[in-house]
Symmetry: C3
Subunit: 220 residues, 3 copies
């Protein structure tokens, strides 16, 4: 069957009208069985959109055929929520260090196909952080020194009761509270909607083993 898009005023329709939300489209069957899609009066769907769409036909009884055309816009649906989840794994070869994971997060966002929404990125371990700050080695040096002052590493069971469990990482649980567990980032026009210097970091406070970071994007 040939599919045409053309503007027509007459009404020798076979049966077709689609009551699809957003985009009712009129069509008719020509004498040779060709299908003509007519300009929709109802909204601004263009022939180009129609021709990129997917045509579906089916019997509706009484010898008549029903047609349904889902334009690309229809197939996608008007803004509907999508979600996309990925898990990243990092093995930091030091007890404490910061990794710029912005490129990995941007890749997850691309994979999601989401253009407007929110992106959540969180450490899945409670001795690690995800935070947003500057990609400057001097600052990272300062952060490490500062966090060590605020919550010094001390494996003994005296300073930290947590280390009476056999663990030695009580300090890491404290450092993570200062730097935070997660960031929520706006996704606008398919990009992380960042100010000029914002970069996403994985902050490790009890490293030398693989840990996971969750990235979830929801939006449209």
């Amino acid at each position: 069957m040939k599919v045409h898009g053309e503007q027509r005023q007459d009404s020798d329709f076979d049966t077709l009208q689609t009551f699809l939300p957003e985009t009712p489209i009129l069509a008719s069957l020509g004498e040779k069985g060709d299908l003509f899609f007519h300009h929709s009066e109802v909204n601004g769907v263009t022939f180009e959109e129609l021709q990129e769409g997917q045509l579906v036909d089916y019997e509706i009884g009484e010898g008549r055929k029903g047609y349904e055309l889902r334009s690309a816009r229809q197939q996608q649906g008007a803004p509907r929520m999508k979600s996309h989840t990925e898990y990243l794994k990092f093995n930091v070869p030091a007890r404490m260090d910061f990794l710029n994971i912005t490129p990995e997060i941007e890749q997850v966002l691309r994979n999601s196909g989401i253009s407007e929404g929110l992106l959540l990125c969180n450490a899945m371990h409670i001795t690690a952080s995800v935070f947003i700050n500057d990609d400057e080695p001097g600052l990272h040096h300062d952060y490490k020194k500062w966090l060590e002052e605020l919550a010094p590493f001390d494996p003994s069971p005296e300073r930290y009761h947590h280390n009476r469990t056999g663990e030695d990482n009580a300090d890491a649980h404290h450092k993570r509270q200062i730097m935070g567990r997660e960031v929520v980032v706006a996704v606008t026009e398919g990009r992380l909607d960042f100010g000029p210097w914002e970069q996403i970091f994985y902050g490790e406070f009890d490293g030398l083993r693989a840990k996971r970071v969750l990235v979830k994007v929801i939006g449209e």
Copy 2:
């Protein structure tokens, strides 16, 4: 009226075709008035889904009846955003303490019926926190000691100007900033998408009275 689901090729339809988005479904009225739903050519809706759906019929004029079948999938709609909000109340019998509220949050998530999305959980009071960390009493002891060092309780108006208002809880406003106001948690396949040790805590810094925690889930 009996409702059947069966694959048919003929076309003794009375009137029914549903142009519902996502799932057009064909049906016909049998001689005895039974309704037959036919395999939809358009998408993969199964008879099982049809039979779980809700049948709606109404007069459409000229002595004809219209039928609309909303399968469970249709009723839910293809991914549409839902939201669900609950308020929890906690009365901590100490000035400072931490409650593991993960079971309550999981119950809210079940109540929401949402399987993919984001869950926000925040203290609605500014002298309390919601945070994610370890359910280990030694660590909680360490947190209390540490927070007391960082921002000591001192009801006098000398150390904290805030206490010149007649309040005595300035320290609590500081402790809450360290531990944070809120967590945002990924919801995946109907569960809190957590790493092995993640648990949600309500952190009270000015207790001995009832306070509220908001839980909001958005998703599909």
Copy 3:
């Protein structure tokens, strides 16, 4: 053509039934060509809603007209995700200070038209914060003193390696980590779903210049 809304039991329909999702509506053409919308059996659409809606008619062939009525509810669509983004600019005339930006955020929320969802508000600069706490000048005084103790301003390159880059704001990068980058706020019934004292603040730690805050609302 006049449009009426009235309850009728008879069925002198011309052709009209709308198979729009959520809201099938019955109508008929009167003898004088007037269109009567009848109470929908299917759901609780009211005549008021119908009359506020947008009537669309088009030829469907065989000399018959099709009518589609999109009530306001339909036009908006049943719960679909919407998103709305705005950027605010603040120029704080001090190195460190806190601005109550709740009124600006409430205005963005009104602009969004979203009634159920989540609102993200974050500093787009890495030496500033957005946080929620009390609008009390004494507390803000205390916060400034406390943050200065935790991470003192020191432009020299000795204390902070970051200041070896020619910057003098390493302290601001630390203060921002204590106070946080962002808040995520529940939107319920069109309002910021806040406890009694919650107010949103922009926290500036390296001011005297314009900086941006992002506000993104997603929901329905």
